[in-house]
Every structure is written in C-alpha cells, then in structure tokens.
Amino acid sequence: MEPVVQLSGVVAVLGGFPVLAGADLTVARGEILLLRGPNGAGKTSLLRLCAGLLPVERGTAIVLGHDIAADRTAARHRVGLLGHSNGLYADLSVADNVAFWGATVGATRDEVAASLDRMGLSGRLAKVPVARLSAGQRRRTALACLVARRAELWLLDEPHAGLDAAGRDDLDATLREAAAAGATVMVASHELERAGALAHRVVDIVGGQVRE
C-alpha cells in the first residue's frame, strides 16, 4: 500500500524540550493507526507535526508526498486535525460551522447536509448555536466539520472524549467509512479497548519514540 506518512529519525522540539526524539513511522493509505502511550510521551506532538503545526528539527518527514521538513505547510489542505480544542465558532450555529469549514474546500450544500446527518446533527440541533451545546455535541460538530472537509489524512487526538455511546458508535462508523474510502486515520487515545478494536495497527509512543 502507498505510504501516506513516512517519518524517519524525526526530532521535534517544543519550548527547548525534545518532544519527539528520533521517531520512525510509516502509515499506509486506508490504514487506521492507534497511537498509545502515557501522558507526555509525544502522541499529540506527533499528530501536530504531521499536521504541519510543529516544525521538524531533524530527520525526514514525508506527509501525503510532501516533504514537511522543508515546507510544513505543503500538505495542510489535505489534512484534518481534531485536537484538544474543536476549532468551532461559539456564536454560530452547528450548521453554520459545518458549512463554513466545508466551504474552505468547496463542499456543496448536499455534502454539508450529509456531514451533519452522518454525525446525527441534522434537524433542530443544526440551528442551535455552538455555545449552547454540551461538550459531546461540540465534539460531534467538530467531527462533522472534518467529514465536510474531505480530509485525506485524519489526525485525531482523544476523539472519543466527551461523546456518549451513540456518538462513539457514529464516530467509529465514520472512521471506518473514511478509511474504506481511502483516507488514512491516526488516532491518539487512552481508550484502548474501543480505539484498539477500531484500529488496524497499534503503536506505542514512549519518550518521543515510536515502538511497533
């Protein structure tokens, strides 16, 4: 399978502290990869590096065919990141948020409606301002925005956090559909049972290094 992420000896530094210390990792197209490890091991840093938010200090990093060590912005438009924050506008409605993020890649109204439907947000809930939603509903909205953006590489940091049982099932089904359609999914999670059942492969992040 064609590799979507290829990291070799990657070192990344944040605030003078090495958060990735020679990380090696290859992720194939259509793969769902679970990153597990203790807090501070480097899971979030690895996702942010692949998203082009954290610069590569040393090593080789190819994401979606782009050398992000040379230009970390090169692959961004094809990447979707769901981190600890949701990237939503609190004063706008659920539908407005999804329509906005979809519009950044030219998504049609039908595609936006399908994204809302996929995450169980159509109907009255679509018109509610994000500020009035619960944490779980906000997470669902953020996931609907990712679906609308049609990302090729999904980088998800604790995506199940705050979701109820139905939301978790919707998320897992969405990720399986996306992977089946050719998207690559990297999930950092402490929910090993659920995320482990979803993943095709599991790697451990320890001290800024990847262990298969």
């Binding site: 438009h77 990447v79 924050s85 949701n86 990237g87 004063d91 706008l92 906005f100 950044t104 953006r149």
Partner: protein, 227 residues
C-alpha cells in the same frame, strides 16, 4: 480556493458572528458614544469642542477599534479556530484580507455613529464642499486602520497578555492615520477656516499607509500566525 474567495468566506463568517452576537451594536457603539460624551464633559467649552471635534472622532475610533480587534481574534483563539484554519491550509493572505474587510465594515458603522455624535454634541458642521473629502478620508483611513488592526491582532493573538500588548503595539503605529485623518477631517469641516484643498495631501498619506500595510499584511500574515 483563491485568496479572494477565502477572503469573502472569512469576512462573511466574521460579519455573521457579529450579527448573532451583536457585540458591536450592544457594547462597542455605546462605549464609543460614551467616550464622546466624556470628552464633552472634560473640555466643557463649545468653541474648543467644535475646534477639536475631528481629532476626538478619530481618537474615539482608535480606542473603540482596540475592542473590535481583540474581539475579532478572540473568536478565532477561543476554541482553536485559528490553528484549525492553518491546518485546513486556508491561505493566510485570504484570512488577513477577509478579517480586514469585516473589521472595516464594523469600523465604518462606528465612524458614522461617531460623526453624528460630533455633529450633535460638539456642533461640528460639515460643508457640502467638504463632503467628498470627508467620505474619501473615512474610506482611506478605515482601510488603513483595518489592515493595521488585523495585522497586529494576528501578531498578538497567540501572545501572553495580548489584551495589554495590543494597544502598546498598535497605537504608535496608527499615529500617522490619526494625524492624517484628523487634518483631512478638519479641512472637510472647515475648522479654523481651513479649506478642502488643504485636506487632499493628507489623503495621499492615508492611501500610502493603507497600501503599505495591506501589501505587507497579505504577505506576512502567514508567518505571523504560524509563530
């Protein structure tokens, strides 16, 4: 997507947020009006107020603009939307132009209110002969202020203590706009016997300022928000 389409998308989003939250209508406009009233209390002399009305309008505009700029970037940083825009590969030049357009629209509303306040509270008079100069002054100054506000708002967005940092960074930079816009508005008002023709050289300064910060901001905004 082209930079221009991104700019329109961002501007529409920012204006929709204002429409829903009504922060400008309910907080910034009353604040600006209050500043004008306080100036009147402090100076307490009709002749002096009429003479300094153009400067007070622009000072009140700049103080109020600080609130607008902080609000414009607070909505981006509250839930990590600025990071999300970067990851989404949205062109930074488009973000800069879009946020500038939305800020300019809000400033324009603010300036109309302040101009009316100056006419009512300070008995400032606008001669028909100065109307074209006045409109041109407001357009050029608003454009320049929107570019500077967006540039420095983006610069301060990720910094600690951004609320206090922004005025410190921005107010010295907008001093040329304060001077140029005040002189041109005085000429349009005919303050102290000034004629309209005396205002046009100041328009040149305002246009140059807007062009410099518009070009610089479009090119540099990506590096600024990336750091």
């Amino acid at each position: 997507m082209s930079t221009w389409r991104i700019a329109r998308l961002i501007a529409a989003k920012d204006l929709r947020i204002e429409l829903r939250s009504r922060v400008v209508t309910n907080q910034v406009l009353p604040f600006a009006a209050l500043v004008m009233v306080m100036f009147a209390f402090a100076l307490d002399n009709d002749n002096v107020l009429t003479r300094v009305a153009p400067g007070l309008v622009w000072l009140a505009t700049m103080f109020s603009m600080l609130v607008l700029v902080q609000r414009s970037f607070a909505v981006e940083s509250a839930d990590g939307a600025l990071d999300a825009l970067q990851v989404a590969g949205v062109r930074p030049g488009g973000i800069f132009l879009g946020k500038s357009m939305a800020l300019a629209a809000q400033l324009a509303v603010l300036e109309v209110v302040l101009l009316l306040a100056a006419i009512v509270l300070y008995q400032a008079e606008v001669a028909w002969s100065g109307a074209v100069l006045l409109v041109t002054t407001f357009l050029a100054a608003t454009t320049g202020l929107a570019f500077v506000g967006t540039l420095y708002g983006g610069l301060a967005a990720g910094a600690k203590g951004r609320e206090t940092l922004l005025p410190l960074l921005m107010l010295p930079v907008v001093a040329p706009v304060l001077i140029g816009a005040t002189r041109a508005t005085e000429a349009a008002f005919g303050t102290n016997g000034a004629s309209s023709s005396e205002g046009w050289p100041w328009i040149g300064l305002l246009v140059l300022f807007a062009a410099l910060f518009g070009t610089g901001g479009t090119l540099a905004f990506g590096s600024l928000i990336d750091e």
